[in-house]
């Protein structure tokens, strides 16, 4: 079920009313309702994969119970490795099997050895990368004794399958989300209103910004041989806003929806396109994944403790793994490696933590220096996105070489150019709202909050109107579903 669908618009109020009016007196019943509605939500896409989530849930629940009883270090480690192997095994099979098979056969044939290996027609279960990492974090935290393992199977199932964030995150830590399933939830009016506001902003990002940018990004990327450098540059810009609007929009809807049910999810985006360097960008983009890799990969690898070269190696590992997490394609690996390269000078000069706070906080405009830092960081990010979006490495390289040819000096030229300019106008207005709301969790959280109710409601109604006027008339899935 998509957040931007009529199905979800019917599903959400039904679950909400049942949750607060029928199941409100009984915590177990509320959790059970979350489980059932989450399975309906997921099964709406493909019910066959419900068994996979259930199995993954069962394995990690039992491993948690096993870790509770087990004191022997070796046996505890064996239990942890069982969880890692099962979870990453599923992920590896569904997501990476064909990639490895194809690359092995290519590598062997390169050395003159022909081997027969068949790739399989595998459907990637939606959200597998997200819930796998979530359950893994539980097992690891329990193993590290950071978290008391749960004996409440319903609460644990609800934690793994919680529908607002099941298919595209934020990737929640058990330490943050699981305890919320143990506590009685009371309806919080302000939290719910805030949640509705965040859902609205998320829908705007997805249905107006991302989907309209996608239309032009797809036209340009899919026919890149036919366009000049400036058009290709425009295509890369559109993709940068498409992926931001799409993914951060999803996260906003997920967090907002969770608030309606009394839950607090982790923040996943913090205005990343206003970052002054790549290190800051990665503290603001897909925060739940970056911190997951930091805590469960970078730090166990030694982090920054083993000297500069060890640190460089670890940085490259987490960026490349992070790229590979997005998909089984060399383009994602190059995208990850490129970001590691961007990060490298900051690391070597020990400047990777120089921009921690909000840019130009309390001011309307950034300084000239900050402005150029933002533009440079954004430019580097857009450049890397070309690899992320391209079909393969050759496609990306051809795309980039055309951008850096003299044709960049000509005007963008494609059939739908006027519509593209309107979308650029929408993106400009969107980024202005984002800029003025960057002090908050999401841009319109506190925007005109102190003005009259008529003005505020007119503003929100205008956002709804723009969604109705500019949304695509066909349902469009979220990009991160494929990851």
């Amino acid at each position: 079920m998509l957040f931007n669908s009529i199905d979800f618009a019917i599903f959400l109020p039904i679950v909400f009313l049942l949750y607060w009016f029928v199941a409100n007196k009984n915590l177990k019943l509320q959790n059970l309702l979350i489980v059932v509605s989450s399975y309906v939500f997921y099964g709406w896409w493909d019910w066959r994969f419900l068994a996979l989530i259930l199995f993954s849930t069962l394995v990690d629940y039992l491993i948690g119970v096993g870790l509770l009883k087990e004191e022997n270090g070796k046996k505890r480690k064996a239990l942890l490795w069982t969880s890692i192997i099962v979870n990453l095994g599923f992920l590896g099979f569904f997501k990476y099997y064909n990639f490895f098979i194809e690359n092995f056969t290519t590598a062997f044939s390169f050395f003159g050895n022909e081997i027969q290996a068949n790739s399989l027609n595998i459907i990637l279960p939606v959200g597998i990368s997200f819930y796998t990492f979530q359950t893994l974090s539980y097992s690891i935290d329990v193993y590290r004794r950071k978290l008391e393992p749960t004996k409440d199977f319903i609460a644990f199932t609800a934690f793994v399958s919680f529908f607002p964030q099941l298919v595209a995150g934020p990737i929640e830590r058990a330490t943050n989300l699981l305890p919320q399933f143990y506590k009685k939830r009371t309806f919080d009016y302000n939290k719910a209103v805030d949640g509705m506001r965040q859902i609205l902003w998320g829908l705007f990002k997805k249905m107006v910004i991302a989907d309209n940018c996608a239309e032009y990004a797809n036209i340009i990327f899919n026919n890149s041989d036919n366009y000049n450098g400036s058009t290709l540059f425009l295509g890369a810009l559109f993709f940068a806003f498409q992926i931001y609007g799409d993914f951060s929009g999803y996260s906003d809807i997920a967090i907002g929806t969770s608030r309606l049910f009394g839950f607090d999810l982790k923040r996943n985006f913090a205005f990343p396109y206003f970052s002054r360097d790549i290190a800051e960008f990665w503290r603001r983009w897909h925060i739940s994944l970056s911190t997951w890799f930091r805590d469960y990969l970078y730090i166990p690898l030694g982090g920054s403790r083993g000297g500069i070269w060890m640190n460089v190696r670890n940085i490259f590992i987490i960026f490349i793994v992070s790229g590979f997490w997005h998909g089984a394609n060399w383009t994602f690996i190059v995208w990850g490696a490129l970001n590691a390269l961007y990060f490298l000078p900051l690391l070597l000069l020990n400047k990777n933590r120089q921009h921690i706070g909000i840019v130009a906080q309390g001011k309307y405009f950034p300084t000239l220096r900050e402005f150029f830092q933002i533009i440079l960081t954004f430019g580097l990010t857009v450049f890397a996105w070309i690899f992320f979006r391209a079909e393969n490495i050759d496609h990306a390289l051809n795309y980039i070489s055309e951008i850096f040819s003299t044709s960049i000096l000509s005007l963008p030229d494609f059939k739908e150019i006027y519509g593209a300019y309107v979308t650029l106008g929408l993106v400009t207005i969107f980024m202005m709202v984002e800029w003025f709301g960057r002090d908050h969790e999401f841009a319109i959280e506190k925007l005109i909050i102190n003005r009259s109710r008529t003005l505020r409601w007119s503003f929100y109604s205008f956002i709804i109107f723009i969604i109705i006027m500019f949304a695509q008339t066909k349902e469009t899935p979220f990009i991160y579903f494929q990851f």
Binding site: Y189, V193, Y418, G419, W457
Partner: protein
Amino acid sequence: MKKFIILLLKFSLFSLVFYSFLIIFWGRFAPSVLSPNLNFTYIKYGFTNTRLNEIKNFKNIDILFLGSSHAYRGFDTRIFDEAGLKSFNLGSSSQTPLQTEILLKRYLDSLTPKMILFEVSPVTFSLDGVESTLDIISNDKNDFNSIKLALKQNNLKIYNTLFYSFFHSFYRDLFDEKKYAEDIKKGNDTYISGGYVENQMKYFKYVDYPEIKWVFNETQFSALQRIIELVNKRNIKLIFIQAPSTSSFYKSHTNNLEFDERINKYGIYYNFNVISKLDDSLHFYDAHHLNQNGVEIFDNDVINLLVKNEFIKRE
């Protein structure tokens, strides 16, 4: 909780009023590039408005033509008049069975035709019908059937345009109706009384189309079934006709036979791609529209076939 639900209801009402005012303003003043989901096509193309305004002058006709542009650019009512057959052409742009059903519900009882020639094209059976619905709701009086059609198609463009069309009809009637009268000559097209649209003589330049397969929209076949039931209740003869396309366009589609087989199951059906002897270069102005020379051959072929099969009797 109660406070939250009351707030939501109040806000929904506020938003509805806000939307109503803004859509009127937007529809009236915003350029089309700023209103992609509001496609009000009043008197823009296809002469639907003129045709529907004229319909009240036609009663007890011999033949009613239905279908897309293949119908209103293919069945020349003057040729049928010459053959002694009083007819009206209720074709409209991209009309699919979904819209045909609505038009029949509105006009069949006033037209009381003896026979219906329904142009069935694999093109329209492959469409979702949004374009045609926009054409109908922009140019016809809207009623409960329009709302039902909008709900059936469930498309933002249709909802917005329907809402604006309700306002527009009120606005148009209240202020200056004459100002909005449609010109009967537009570009290369001339509207002929009775619903036919004559295109200025042009010839098709050969294009080699790549092979492609029709992907049919099943909702159109369901609508076709309802149309048959509607017509049968009134004891009106219903004949399905596929108007000719250029051979290059027709043959580029690999599952034409599948379409013929499906339509044959619904009743009497003639595919004029295999009946009429037409030349791509001489008798068409584009890939699937006849020029006036082609229309004359096609219409005479249709009349001859109707006579030969004794569907009509020539006096």
